[in-house]
């Protein structure tokens, strides 16, 4: 198989985008761990770290990482609904409904955490 196999079919390409999105998710988590380490190192080091995050390059990275994380999460919920069979009595619940409810629960939990964080 040629190394460019993933370019010959749009679904292969989207699969590779999804795989590639993991790199950004992992990079964000590494940065988050560094942030925690900065917090442990003291207020001055942490403040320096936060100021560095305001640089345009880091803002751009976070914007791109956010888009990839959203793509990864939404496709993850979509794929999960193919695996998870939900039954109500004898009826199998449509997988679109399962995916939709999973995404809704994810948004509610994320919104709750965001509100808790912003309101202190």
């Amino acid at each position: 198989m040629r190394a460019t196999w993933w370019l010959r079919n749009p679904r292969y390409f989207l699969f590779m985008v999804r795989e590639f999105s993991s790199v950004f998710v992992a990079a964000f988590l590494v940065l988050f761990l560094l942030q925690i380490r900065g917090l442990r190192a003291g207020a001055e080091v942490y403040q320096e770290y936060l100021e560095r995050l305001h640089e345009p390059g880091w803002i751009a990275f976070h914007a791109v990482a956010f888009l990839f994380a959203m793509y990864h999460s939404l496709t993850w919920f979509d794929l999960t609904s193919k695996i998870q069979v939900v039954r109500l009595g004898r009826t199998v619940v449509n997988r679109r409904i399962v995916a939709g409810l999973n995404i809704l629960a994810w948004l509610v939990v994320s919104g709750g955490i965001f509100l808790y964080w912003t309101r202190g």
């Binding site: 196999w5 699969f15 794929l79 193919k82």
Partner: protein, 260 residues
């Protein structure tokens, strides 16, 4: 409603490879009469019967049941008996042998690897001990049938293997159809062969090789959804493994359908 075409002839480019004559596969062009009700297999048969009798390809039922006539049509794996010429607007239509399989001759591929893998998962009902005929048949409720019914539609056409990049990159991979059939029998309430299938399913080159590209499900002409079967097999195998740690002496049917 299907598209209609007024063209009276159609151009095809068909892969030719005769090992005694050709050093490698090459395309050969044909222009043949075309009608709206012709499928790709009809075109191949027209060439074989009236234009070039040396063209080789597999087919049998001409009704999407036997699974023998799989070819690549414009780069997509299709059953040649189930795809109309009228649906292809651009000419020539490229017809090639299924990818990911060695070519024996023209459109005929070597399916030995698939047959070996199919046999390895033992796609038949296994009983630890058969009951005598006098006790009657093994009964099954409609609900028990419904659990595996979708996965029992596989016709072994191998379009899913052709569409699977994981199989293309790692030919040792068990592959979608064999995994789906293994899962089908593991879900069957009459079957007790889960443990016998596990070595093939849960091996290094079994279900864990699958990265869930999902193209196998897209190309499946029988809506079997091998991708779902593979992922649910992973869940069932993981649950079985976890269960063996928690309750090492417990036994029973470990396949689930990922229900919640």
């Amino acid at each position: 409603m299907k598209a209609s075409t007024s063209r009276s002839t159609i151009k095809l480019e068909v892969t030719r490879y005769r090992p005694s004559v050709d050093s490698e596969p090459h395309d050969q062009s044909y222009e043949i009469p075309c009608t709206d009700d012709m499928v790709v297999l009809d075109a191949l048969n027209y060439i074989k019967d009236r234009v070039d009798g040396t063209l080789s390809f597999r087919w049998s039922c001409h009704m999407g049941v036997c699974g023998s006539c799989g070819v690549m049509v414009n780069g997509q794996p299709k059953l040649s008996c189930a795809i109309f010429l009228r649906d292809y607007k651009r000419e020539p239509i490229h017809i090639e042998p299924l990818t990911n399989f060695p070519i024996i001759r023209d459109l005929v591929t070597d399916i030995t690897d698939f047959m070996t893998k199919l046999k390895a998962v033992k796609p038949w009902i296994i009983r630890k001990k058969e009951k005598p005929l006098s006790e009657g048949e093994y009964r099954q409720s409609a609900e028990e049938l419904e659990r595996y019914h979708q996965f029992s539609g596989c016709i072994n056409c191998m379009l899913c293997y052709s569409a699977c990049p994981v199989y293309g990159l790692h030919p040792g991979f068990l592959g979608p159809a064999a995994a789906a059939l293994a899962y089908r029998y593991n879900l069957d309430s009459r079957d007790q062969g889960n443990d016998e299938r596990q070595p093939a399913i849960a091996s290094q080159e079994g279900i864990w090789e699958c990265t869930f590209v999902g193209e196998c499900t897209v190309v499946c002409p029988k809506d079997v959804d091998p991708a779902a079967a593979l992922q649910r097999s992973k869940v069932a195998t993981a649950q079985s493994l976890l269960g063996s740690f928690i309750l090492p002496r417990a036994s029973g049917k470990s396949a689930t359908e990922g229900s919640s």
